[in-house]
Symmetry: C2
Subunit: 216 residues, 2 copies
């Protein structure tokens, strides 16, 4: 098989994914649900952000939680009372629109304002797969260093909002967040960048304000 | 295209990769070079570990440094005097045996004892692509949490050695490394697990001893 044949095959899979994503988006919009695709490295705090949001935010939401193996994160989130549907991808490195369509059928969309789709922990592959979301949320954990935006631009050029999480570790890790913010804005000048700590709750009021402003 | 056709195509790409990986392994063994495939999340400290190793280890080594975009890490490592060849994958989420074969041609293998191949920052996709290495080195950064081994078993079942890095943040992050070590051993009982900090140098004497024991 030639490399151009491989590219054709990948493009055909991407194109089928785009079609299902567009159908998902119509379903979500019709139900009045704002859907977010959360993308970040393993252990950057995606589930912790959802846990904190569940305990302090007055909006109603549900979650779809993707992982390569285990349903640990959806079990964690369920303990807060949020309806969380797990997707175990069984080795696949990102969610697809079909996976999200099937998981969303387990939810009553009429009952919620927001749906968070937590993607597989991975800064690369999830970036270019539309799931039918309204927008993407990127999460960067400060101990990962200052260079992640420059090294993984495919995500940051697509993310409407970036959470710089684990801000409680900024000082001990010696991270200058101004530089990270500049990198975000150089890729997308309308990006919203928030500094959060799901441990202390710092920055979450701004996150909640942002969410309220996105209500469908 | 049916999903079974897609699986056939993926298997054919994997099988071609295996062939090139086996050729690489023969070349490396003939030159007496011990080659390691380092895999870990973005920002887990792979390059920092190589920088610290360069400054304090008496063995001779070179590196091949993979990244989706930028040659920032290979430039960082080059400043220590180590010969570092960058591979920018241009969007691809893991290195392939062909990429490593081409990059290794820029090195004089006769001059070195060790070759570190730093894979793309990603806990998923690199795990199942053999590059022709002697063994895999997994790196986990403690702020990523205690559950990474259980959530990404495809890597940890294949890694001969696991570095639990950023140990200087263990206490502030409240991580119990005994649990992580147990998870590693439950997947592979002959695994070597080392606790390291590329910031303080803690644990590196054990890492250097391990490397000396692996000399081809």
């Amino acid at each position: 098989m030639s490399s151009s044949e491989r590219i054709d095959i990948e493009q055909s899979a991407q194109s089928r994914n785009e079609d299902v994503a567009e159908q998902n988006r119509q379903v979500f919009r019709q139900a009045g649900v704002t859907v977010m695709n959360m993308i970040g490295s393993p252990g950057c705090g995606k589930t912790s952000i959802l846990e904190y949001t569940a305990g302090h935010f007055d909006g109603t939401f549900a979650a779809i939680i993707g992982d390569v193996e285990t349903a640990l994160d959806s079990e964690r989130l369920s303990r807060t009372g949020v309806r969380a549907v797990p997707i175990e991808t069984g080795g696949s490195c990102h969610l697809t629109a079909e996976m999200v369509r099937d998981a969303a059928r387990e939810l009553n969309l009429e009952e919620i304002d927001f749906l968070f789709v937590e993607n597989v922990g991975n800064l690369v592959c999830p970036s270019t797969f539309d799931l039918g979301e309204e927008f993407k949320v990127a999460v960067v954990s400060l101990p990962e260093g200052e260079d992640k935006v420059r090294k993984y631009p495919a995500l940051f050029v697509r993310a409407k909002v970036v959470l710089l999480n684990k801000m409680d570790l900024a000082e001990v890790c010696g991270i200058d967040t101004r530089r990270v913010k500049e990198d975000c804005r150089s890729l997308r000048n309308d990006v919203k960048v928030l500094e959060t700590s799901a441990k202390t709750g710092d920055g979450f009021e701004e996150w909640f304000d942002f969410l309220r402003g996105c209500r469908a």
